[in-house]
Symmetry: C2
Subunit: 138 residues, 2 copies
DNA sequence: CAATAAATGCACTTCTATTGCATGGCTACT
DNA sequence: AGTAGCCATGCAATAGAAGTGCATTTATTG
């Protein structure tokens, strides 16, 4: 039993070979991935399987969706202990317009927002676009 | 010369009949509209024309895109004097998960965000999801 | 081992965004 | 006014991603 297997089981996800590979792939960078990215990384696997794997991961709190405004949904690992809880877990995402990658800035929580009366917040998404550390240092 | 015509010309957009209608339509609510919404409002117009009208408006600073996470792009009028300037013009958007409408909260600017060294911000997008004033008051 | 449930793979559909090309109308210039 | 050329419009087709239905394989449980 390797650690990935143990982890997936702790999340109530049956640790199939494919799921372990996808999870491992996600851990290898903090860059959010599209379904297409993952598809390219695992050419032997079917798109639908990967699609449903990500949906399952999302339901079980293993990954969260990132909508960075490019029009295609990306996925990134949740932090340890994350419940995607408003006020606590929501971090911001940075989209680099040069390398087109989207990075989770998990240390940077979304600041408190005051809404007008009558509005109830349940979730929020903050994406900052610009030039990332790597691309600006050139 | 009506005011819409004058306005469009001031933005260097030739005021065609179609463009004036679309602009007028946009002024009638502060709810962001998808291309599909506009298409339904003007059944006689071609989808492509509306699409390109919005693109033109966007380029000329008349509307801005709103990405509320529903997967379809929406458009909303820029405020008067808006340059979509970071630090000044960026307001937040509220997406109601009940009525599924997205509202520009133009009075609510996005708070100052601190980024790690090396990151340069050029634009940002903040969407709060939840229940809007109208839907929560029921 | 049989029965059942879950995961996978394939094909297809849907929805939106986007582009190419032909046509029509307006503008500007002579 | 006549004409060339640009810009706007409309139609048709494509692209790209998300999502669904169904058959098949794999795994689990008794």
């Amino acid at each position: 039993m390797n650690t990935i297997e143990v982890f997936l089981e702790s999340k109530k996800v049956r640790p199939t070979a494919m799921r372990m590979l996808v999870y491992k792939y996600m851990t290898q960078s903090n860059v959010a991935k599209t379904l297409g990215d993952i598809e390219n990384a695992f050419t032997k696997a079917d798109r639908t399987t990967l699609y449903r794997t990500l949906k399952t991961f999302e339901e079980k709190g293993i990954v969260h969706q990132v909508d960075d405004g490019t029009g295609t949904i990306k996925y990134a690992l949740c932090e340890a202990g994350c419940n995607c809880d408003i006020d606590r877990d929501l971090h911001l995402h940075f989209h680099c317009s040069n390398c087109r990658e989207t990075i989770c800035l998990t240390e940077h929580k979304i600041p408190q927002i005051n809404l007008p009366d009558g509005y109830v917040a349940e979730d929020m998404n903050l994406v900052v676009k610009g030039i990332c550390e790597h691309c600006s240092g050139q």
